[in-house]
Structures are given as structure tokens and as C-alpha cells.
């Protein structure tokens, strides 16, 4: 069966990057005026030439987002189950070569964490682990889903990419959404950042959304880790990937995230810095390119940035997050994957959302419906 990789193999990183940087203000104006925007329009919107049009992009982004999603923001929270990892990732606190204490939550510990998360009001949880197929595998996930399903309306997962058969096994257990970030579409740099472990297989990772589509997953999340490579080119390939997936797996919903590299213990300096103006440009470009895709922002970003981004195009937001297994109740001092930037509580974030004229929505799905 064909996959995105077949299309991706026909693309050249350097040529794509050059075509983005060659876009002119005329290209941007054409993209802004269009009713439906193409991938070429997206290139213009993320290009340096679009920088002077940021306010115009923001206005359109806000209008399109309001039309489709209304004045609401979906709330979600991560639950880190494990920091075990058999991969080396140069930018991640869970990297195999980072000699720290490892922990995988037991069923009892998971329920202690769940109790705190429920107390915060959450109905949507994102399960996160490192990438370790020995300790944290499909059978572990089945047990976790079985355990927590009665407590949540929507369960997402951000774990190691798995085989099609694994995804097919997990959906009946109540798995609604899978997030899988490509990290970078730059093949050579991908290899440099992932020198060891299963994750070093670029093709397996880039084909993961295809396997999720074939498994009939309800929703999938895509993105790159901003800071590893030229973000404009990486995000263009994300848009291209999304475009492909939407046409092929038309019954699946999609979300995008735009995590910027954050400090962690023993960390890597970002190769590429993306400033706040550029992140706003990217968020607006995604919205102008795709009116229906969900756009998500995490606690990696600063409080001030998150306060102001609410009205610009995003549709879901996390709050009160801990990025370490046991971080909510069991072992608050265990190793974090990365430092969060916005430490405000979910209630405080909900208040900020209300002040911006929006409503924080805690439940917008129900596992019992599918």
C-alpha cells in the first residue's frame, strides 16, 4: 500500500526551502485574497515575505477559527506514565543516554495521578511515555486504557510509533487520538538527532500516520519539534503531510501542534530559534491553509504568549501540566521531559480564557459514543 513516504521521497528539502524563501509580497497577497489556499499559498504565508502581513493574517485566522470552532477552547492535560526510553534523542530529557532514575507508573500509581487530574476538572487526558517497547508496550497500554477509560470522556496517546496491528488492538480499548510528531522532516538531521534505537528509522516514523489511518483512529495529531531544523520548511512538510492524510483517511480528524524546543537536563541548544512573532505567523498560516484542523498549544509557551494566543486561531490548550511520571501526586520530583513555562493552574487558565471572551470546554467527546 502506498504511503506518504512515496510522495515525500519525490521532494527535495533544499529546493523546497529555497522556494519558500523566494516567495514575494505578491505571493503573500495572492494567498491572503484566496478563498481556498493551496500548498503554494502556505509556502507564501510561512515565508519571510509574509512578516509584514502578520496583523492581516491574525485577523483572518481569528475570523475563520470563530466560524468553525466558536468562542470555546478545549482543555486537556498530559499524564506521563513512564520515562523509560530505548532511544537516543539529542534534545529530550528521557533520552537513553541520559543517566537518570527511570520510572513507569503502576496501576495504583496511575489511579493516584488520575484522582488529582479529575480534581482539576479534566475529562480529556493525554497519555505520554518515552519510547520503550520492553517495559511500556501494547499490553501495558491496554491495561492502562482499561483502567482509566471509565474516568475520561476522551483519551489521547503520545507514545512510541507502533505497528498497524497494535493500533487495531488499542482502539477497542477506548483510544480516541494518537499524536505522533515527526520531530523533523530533514532526513539527514533526523538521523543525527536519533542515532540509536527504533526511532532512528525515519521511514517507520513518517509512515506512522498512515498506519493510524488504516487502523481507523478517530483523531491524529501531527507536528514537528521546532528548533531542530528550518521551521518554515519543516512546517511546510507537515502541511503537505496533513493534506495527503486528509484526502486518504477522510474519516479521521486532525490536530496540529507546534512545540518549540524547551530546556531539559543536559539539553541541546536549538539549531534554529523561532521567536514569538514567527510562532504567531505559523499558527495563522496553518489556520488560513486549513479551516478545520484543530490547533493545540501546550504549557511549553510562556503565560503572556498563551494569554494572547487564545484569540488568534488555536482550539485546544493544556494547563497545570506535569511532564514527569508521577508528577501530580506520586513522585513530583522525578525527571521531567522538559521544563514547562506556564505553571498556572487549570482554574487560572479557565479564568484567563473567560476574560478573553471564550469558554473553557472540559468535555467535548465521549468514548461511549464510539
Amino acid at each position: 500500500m502506498s504511503s506518504f513516504n512515496d510522495i515525500f521521497e519525490t521532494c527535495n528539502w533544499d529546493d523546497t526551502k529555497a522556494s519558500i524563501y523566494a516567495k514575494t509580497s505578491a505571493d503573500v497577497e495572492r494567498a491572503l485574497a484566496a478563498d481556498k489556499r493551496t500548498l503554494e499559498d502556505f509556502k507564501a504565508l510561512v515565508s519571510p515575505a509574509a512578516a509584514p502581513y502578520l496583523e492581516q493574517m491574525a485577523q483572518i485566522s481569528q475570523r475563520l477559527t470563530l466560524k468553525r470552532f466558536g468562542k470555546v477552547l478545549q482543555m486537556y492535560v498530559p499524564l506521563y506514565l513512564s520515562n523509560e526510553c530505548s532511544n537516543i534523542c539529542t534534545y529530550c530529557g528521557f533520552s537513553y543516554d541520559n543517566k537518570v532514575k527511570r520510572k513507569t507508573l503502576s496501576p495504583m500509581e496511575i489511579m493516584q495521578e488520575v484522582a488529582v487530574i479529575k480534581e482539576m476538572g479534566y475529562e480529556h487526558v493525554l497519555l505520554v511515555t518515552g519510547e520503550d517497547n520492553v517495559n511500556v508496550h501494547v499490553d501495558y497500554f491496554k491495561k492502562v486504557l482499561e483502567l482509566i477509560r471509565p474516568h475520561f470522556a476522551h483519551i489521547s496517546m503520545e507514545v512510541q510509533p507502533m505497528d498497524l496491528e497494535d493500533y487495531q488492538q488499542l482502539t477497542p480499548y477506548g483510544l480516541n487520538t494518537v499524536l505522533v510528531y515527526q520531530e523533523t522532516y530533514h532526513k539527514e538531521d533526523y538521523k543525527k538527532h536519533h542515532p540509536k534505537g527504533k526511532k532512528s528509522n525515519f521511514k517507520y516514523r513518517v509512515e506512522t500516520p498512515d498506519r493510524l489511518g488504516q487502523a481507523g483512529i478517530h483523531k491524529m495529531g501531527l507536528g514537528v519539534l521546532i528548533g531542530l531544523e528550518d521551521w518554515r520548511t519543516d512546517c511546510f512538510f507537515t502541511a503537505m503531510h496533513l493534506n495527503y492524510l486528509e484526502k486518504k483517511y477522510w474519516q479521521t480528524k486532525y490536530s496540529l501542534s507546534f512545540p518549540r524546543l524547551r530546556p531539559f537536563s543536559g539539553g541541546l541548544e536549538p539549531k534554529v530559534e523561532m521567536n514569538d512573532r514567527e510562532l504567531v505567523q505559523l499558527i495563522c498560516a496553518y489556520r488560513l491553509f486549513n479551516e478545520e484542523v484543530e490547533l493545540s498549544i501546550s504549557t511549553r509557551e510562556s503565560a503572556n504568549f498563551r494569554n494572547n494566543i487564545i484569540r488568534l486561531g488555536i482550539t485546544s490548550i493544556s494547563a497545570g501540566s506535569k511532564t514527569n511520571p508521577g508528577g501530580y501526586a506520586v513522585e513530583p520530583e522525578s525527571l521531567e521531559q522538559f521544563e514547562i513555562s506556564d505553571e498556572r493552574s487549570p482554574a487560572e487558565i479557565a479564568k484567563i480564557i473567560a476574560q478573553q471572551g471564550y469558554e473553557a470546554v472540559w468535555k467535548d467527546w465521549d468514548s461511549c459514543l464510539t
Binding site: G70, K363, C368
Partner: protein
């Protein structure tokens, strides 16, 4: 007065509860709209502990009837299950059937909708299916026991108005059940137009919820729907392509 199944409605404006910036704003706008039938997405309410659900508490008025919808389900099987869940949780056998396997444009699946309608009608549900403006499907749904049909004016949430008007007119002309134009109505003038051409009611959500002043917009829709219905009842003057002389040439024949 409009009758659907066992209920009569003074207002021909039906409303939705999504996309408002707060439950209190939703409540205020829905009251201003005068709507007596309000659709609620099952996925948004706490079906297990619905006595404390903020959204539902805001809709507890004697004149407001709840219309749970199955938004999010992808086939007839899931829709039937959701309807049963709604009946148990919200104590109503009314269901707005929404089956859209396409999460991008939320286009309704006609085949699964027909299957679910047949099954739900047999189970005693009052079924109001959201469908494309397809005249043949509407007749098939009537045969299946639907209580009304809810064809779209244009894609859901698009505010593009009555793009399907030619097909809506056919549906209205041959329907034996109420026709409620659902989805795409972006302005009070769209709602007035739908009523003018003979639609029995309209369902509006986005246009009210995301406006700068939802309460005022709700009232504007209320008035537009009333005006549209009055115009329909008064019989609109038909447009003509040739001049009609005020002193006809053949009037001498009546003398």
C-alpha cells in the same frame, strides 16, 4: 403554530448550544431567540451526572424542549446507541440524527442516516435527521418514519446561506413532514428567505453564537423568522419576466 410529532411550537426558530463564549451568554441568547427547541450535543454534556451539568441547567425552562443530537457518530450503529443513551440520560425520545463520517466538512451520510432512521423510528424515537438537501432521500426518510427532515442550506457553520435553495424548494413542495432548514444560515435574511419559500422552521447556531452581540442577533433571527413566515402565509407576489399592464388589453371581455 408548527406541529412536529406530539409537540406544537409557537416559534419556528430552533437553536443550538455550541460555540458560545459562556453558558450564561448561551442562556441569555436562547431566551432572546424565543426558541422552544434547542439542540444539545450529547458529547458536550455529562450524561452520567447530568443533574449538575452547567449547560443543561441553563436550559431548564418550561418552554424549552431539549433536542439531543448525535454529533460525532460515524455510522447507524453508533447513532442508535447514542440515541438510546440520550433517551436514558435526558428523558426524551426526540433525537436529532447527525451522522457525519467526514469530520472536515461534516457532510451527513445519507445511507447510514436512512438506516438509523428506520431503526430509531421503530424503537419509538421522534427522529429529526440532518441531511443534504436531497429530495429523494427526504421521501425515503418519510417512508422510514421520520418526524421531520432537516436539509442543509450550505455546509455546517459556513454562514453561506441557502446555497441549496433549488433543492429546498423541491423538498418543501413535496414533503409530507415538516421541513427544517439546518446548517449554513448565516444571517437573519437567510432565515427569513427560508421561511418565505415555505420551510416550516430553521435551526441556527453559529450565526448567533459567534456574533459580536449574540443576544441582539438572537432577537434579530426571531424577528426575521416571524417576518418570513408572515410573508409566506400572505403569499408572496411572484416575480414575472414581462410587464403586466395595469389596464389589461382583455379587460373589456369582463364588461
Amino acid at each position: 403554530m408548527l406541529t412536529i410529532a406530539d409537540k406544537t411550537f409557537q416559534s419556528r426558530l430552533f437553536t443550538g448550544t455550541g460555540k458560545f463564549n459562556s453558558p450564561s451568554m448561551m442562556e441569555e441568547a436562547l431566551l432572546a431567540s424565543g426558541s422552544e427547541l434547542v439542540t444539545v450535543a450529547l458529547k458536550r454534556v455529562d450524561v452520567k451526572h447530568n443533574d449538575n451539568d452547567d449547560l443543561l441547567l441553563r436550559l431548564k425552562y418550561p418552554h424549552i424542549n431539549l433536542l439531543p443530537n448525535t454529533s460525532g457518530v460515524r455510522n447507524a450503529k453508533e447513532a442508535v446507541f447514542a440515541a438510546q443513551l440520550a433517551r436514558e440520560a435526558l428523558e426524551t425520545n426526540w433525537i436529532k440524527l447527525e451522522i457525519h463520517p467526514d469530520p472536515k466538512y461534516l457532510m451527513p451520510d445519507p445511507i447510514e442516516t436512512l438506516k438509523a432512521t428506520e431503526e430509531l423510528a421503530k424503537m419509538g424515537f421522534v427522529v429529526l435527521p440532518y441531511i443534504h438537501a436531497d429530495p429523494v432521500l427526504c421521501k425515503r426518510l418519510e417512508d422510514a418514519g421520520t418526524a421531520a427532515v432537516m436539509p442543509l442550506g450550505s455546509p455546517i457553520g459556513s454562514n453561506k446561506g441557502l446555497k441549496t435553495i433549488d433543492f429546498l424548494e423541491i423538498i418543501i413542495s413535496q414533503s409530507s413532514v415538516p421541513v427544517i432548514v439546518d446548517a449554513g444560515i448565516g444571517a437573519p435574511s437567510d432565515a427569513a428567505k427560508a421561511l418565505e419559500i415555505g420551510a416550516d422552521a430553521v435551526l441556527v447556531n453559529t450565526a448567533i453564537a459567534v456574533s459580536s452581540n449574540p443576544v441582539q442577533m438572537a432577537e434579530a433571527f426571531k424577528l426575521a423568522v416571524e417576518a418570513g413566515r408572515m410573508a409566506f402565509e400572505a403569499k408572496l407576489a411572484q416575480p414575472v419576466s414581462h410587464a403586466m399592464a395595469s389596464s389589461p388589453l382583455t379587460s373589456f371581455l369582463d364588461e
